[in-house]
């Protein structure tokens, strides 16, 4: 546990030592603001909630999170530091978790910096802050899901561009898995149970049900087990691909 903390701190400090932190946070705040006010018609709706704000989160994450995740392991492999890291007295699990948690915490910081949204809506009206809190939690969980996917893809290649593009496509699949675009692809040849399994993987469905303010344990467990699965996959991929430089 102690070593997870050490890796976590190094990674998190790494984001802030490079322009990555500033660029990511500024773009995230700008885009989430722009989407909310222009595309989401925040004022015109005349409702005291943050629905238009949170509605765009899956789409924002779709582009921004793979950009953040693509360097997680690809960079370690490209620069050779993976050899350094994994020959320190540390388990694979600790390394994977430490790096993931740092990236997740970083997105958490970016998300927390959207607090002026929350202030605004509280100044303008009387929103249900419980729903807003639940939405923030759902958004954070969903970001974790995207990050875990990105972490695994990043372990597959040392080319960060490939890691980015593949992560975006897989993340898109998870966003839309409850939608015709994805389901039509399986329809006709895949058995029914598979179809319903696929549609139950939809990030959108789970996120939306959390952001309605209904904190269903199943939705939370969905994201947590998804994260666990992809991190397990990350560790497996690293183990298998270690020999390649």
């Amino acid at each position: 546990m102690e070593r997870i903390r050490v890796i976590f701190q190094r990674e998190l400090a790494g984001y802030f030592a490079t322009p990555i932190a500033a660029v990511f946070i500024v773009i995230f705040l700008l885009l989430s603001g722009a989407f909310t006010f222009y595309l989401g018609n925040y004022f015109a709706r005349g409702q005291a909630d943050l629905v238009p704000f949170f509605d765009f989160h899956p789409w924002l994450y779709l582009v921004l999170i793979p950009a953040l995740a693509m360097r997680l392991w690809a960079e370690e492999r490209r620069s050779g530091t993976i050899e350094l890291l994994l020959t320190l007295p540390v388990t694979m699990w600790e390394a994977v978790a430490g790096k993931f948690l740092a990236a997740w915490c970083f997105t958490g910081i970016a998300l927390a910096l959207t607090f002026p949204m929350w202030l605004t809506v509280n100044l303008l009206g009387d929103p249900d802050n419980g729903v807003i809190l639940a939405s923030y939690l759902g958004s954070l969980l969903m970001a974790g899901g995207f990050l875990a996917i990105g972490s695994c893809i990043s372990a597959l290649t040392k080319n960060q561009v490939i890691a980015f593009v593949v992560s975006v496509v897989i993340s898109l699949g998870f966003i839309l898995s409850g939608f015709p675009l994805v389901l039509e692809f399986f329809n006709g040849w895949a058995p029914q149970f598979l179809l319903s399994a696929i549609s139950s993987f939809s990030f959108l469905t789970h996120f939306q049900s959390i952001s309605k303010g209904v904190l269903d344990l199943r939705d939370i467990l969905f994201f947590l087990s998804l994260i666990a699965f992809w991190l397990f996959a990350t560790a497996t991929v690293i183990e298998l691909k270690k020999a390649e430089t």
Binding site: I7, A17, S79, T81, E83, L84, T87, P89, V90, A243
Partner: protein
Amino acid sequence: METMVDIKNLRKTFGSIVAVDDVSFTVGKGEVLGFLGPNGAGKSTTMKMITGFLTPTSGTVHICGHNIEDQPIEAKKRIGYLPEGAPAYQDMTPASFLTFIGEMRGYRGGTLKRTVSETVEKVNLQSVLNQSIETLSKGFKRRVGLAQAILHDPDILILDEPTDGLDPNQKHEVRTLIRAMAQEKAIILSTHILEEVHALCSRAMIIAKGKVVSDGTPAELEGKSPAHNTVLVTIAGVDASVSHQQLMTVKGVKKIEEMGRDGDLVQFRIYPDDGQWILPDIGHCVREQGWEVRELYHDRGQLDEVFRLLTTPKQTIS
């Protein structure tokens, strides 16, 4: 001698390629083992298995009695490793990087600070402590890599090409550093530079195509050279065939090779029977004949010649 690294029947295959093939050896405290071999011979792969980065296809690695696969943490605590090219987190400074390594090695608070500053002093990093690593020169980067390897004063040091790409001064510094630690530790280092084996190693091991083809002291290796204990002599103003004949009569001379002529100068390489010591007899003969000698010296044999012989296929030592 206390055995620190014990390697048995180590083997690693990548698909159909055999990178390391049945390698066994032990390294004891106070030993500096030099890994020699052409590129792709399996030196780095062997090191990666010893340090626990790669899992062997078969065979075992014991580090101070700990199996690297069964007790990786215990084993890794005892190893300091400098991977090829001395990788480091480029956006960190040497200070923050070494602090990170120290924390990973379990140091905290005052002990951490003290350990880091002691290590920094050992490798002379004081002047660049707060510059980001990517802006440092190759020599400094290598020193940062060495620093992280020796920070926890490990029993075993594994150094993959520690002096590769350094200028002669930097090479000298790194070698001095390694030599200073040699007594206390078991050191394995790989190198292409054969002079380094002389300068540093108490034992040299040549690896070719994943196999150990030679293992002995640098002197023993030189003994395998065809030129081992030959005598080179350059004589002026004497007819080559006459001097050739005369030299053949010296006791213990097996054969004489004419190396070249330059004006009235002629150079011979004189091979002894069974590698015996013939220099005094040759000297005696030359003096007796009253020849004008420009050069007369003894050749211990060239390591790179042995290296070539052992690592190039379809050639045997004549």
